[in-house]
């Protein structure tokens, strides 16, 4: 049960869930949660490939660390933008921000 394919399937499910979350949700913070799911699925991929790939070095782990740090930076900036928008418009619903058409 503990094979490479099972980890990849878990990552694939998380990836598809993340895409569904980003496409269907209207609340900006909920969309951010979907993006975090996508980044986590890529992380699981990296670590699983590193474990079953038989490589000497831990490239996948290092890549994973960079992705975690980058997700933190992106979440901080995204939430700052969302809060700035909330101060001006009063809602974080993506449909309510429609001053710019197209």
């Amino acid at each position: 049960m503990d094979s490479l394919q099972s980890y990849l399937i878990i990552a694939a499910i998380l990836f598809s869930m993340g895409i569904y979350g980003v496409i269907t949700r209207k609340n900006a913070v909920a969309i951010l949660m979907g993006i975090e799911l996508i980044l986590n699925s890529a992380n699981i991929n990296f670590i699983a490939f590193n474990r079953f790939g038989g490589m000497e070095n831990l490239d996948g782990h290092v890549f994973s660390i960079f992705v975690i740090v980058l997700a933190a930076a992106e979440a901080a900036v995204a939430l700052a933008i969302v809060i700035n928008l909330f101060k001006n418009i009063g809602s974080v619903d993506v449909d309510d921000a429609d001053l710019l058409q197209g």
Partner: protein, 161 residues
């Protein structure tokens, strides 16, 4: 025993991921994201990635998720008891996600992945530190500038003036 534990943790990851995107209540989504990230750390332990599991718990759950919960709380009025996160485009989103999942399963089972014998090591921390200061020194330094940019930007946008 280890088999059953793996199945339980995998089921927890998938179930909480489902609840993150399907729950109508935003606070429920945030809390189930906590469960997803914790269980993913459990998966990392199964993959012998001890440092990454600890980093995941400390930074992802302890940092990013707290920030997201702050974001949820600050952007909704406090007197509404349930915070709704309504959905639209459910059919297109569902079809899209399903298509991508089917393509991925085809890729997973047909690709000749790079497979080798599994290395056994005591702990990954020493090797990761070695890599960060030798091969991956440039990305390590560059990501510090990226964090500087994120810090500056977030402070700039949230300031009162």
């Amino acid at each position: 025993m280890a088999e059953n534990l793996f199945i339980i943790i995998a089921a927890l990851v998938i179930a909480s991921a489902f609840w993150v995107v399907f729950s109508p209540n935003l606070i429920h989504s945030a809390v189930s994201l906590i469960f997803t990230l914790f269980s993913t750390a459990g998966l990392y332990i199964f993959l012998y990635a001890d440092f990454i599991a600890a980093t995941q718990v400390v930074i992802y759950v302890g940092g990013i998720l707290v920030l997201i919960i702050f974001g949820v709380m600050l952007t909704n009025s406090i007197d509404t008891p349930s915070i709704a996160a309504s959905s639209k485009n459910q059919f297109i989103g569902g079809m899209g996600a399903l298509t991508i999942f089917v393509i991925q399963v085809a890729v997973i089972f047909n690709t000749p992945w790079h497979i080798g014998t599994e290395q056994s090591r005591d702990s990954t921390v020493a090797s990761i530190g070695n890599l960060l200061l030798n091969e991956y020194l440039l990305p390590f330094e560059i990501i510090s500038i990226l964090l500087l940019a994120a810090l500056m930007g977030a402070a700039l946008l949230s300031r009162r003036t």
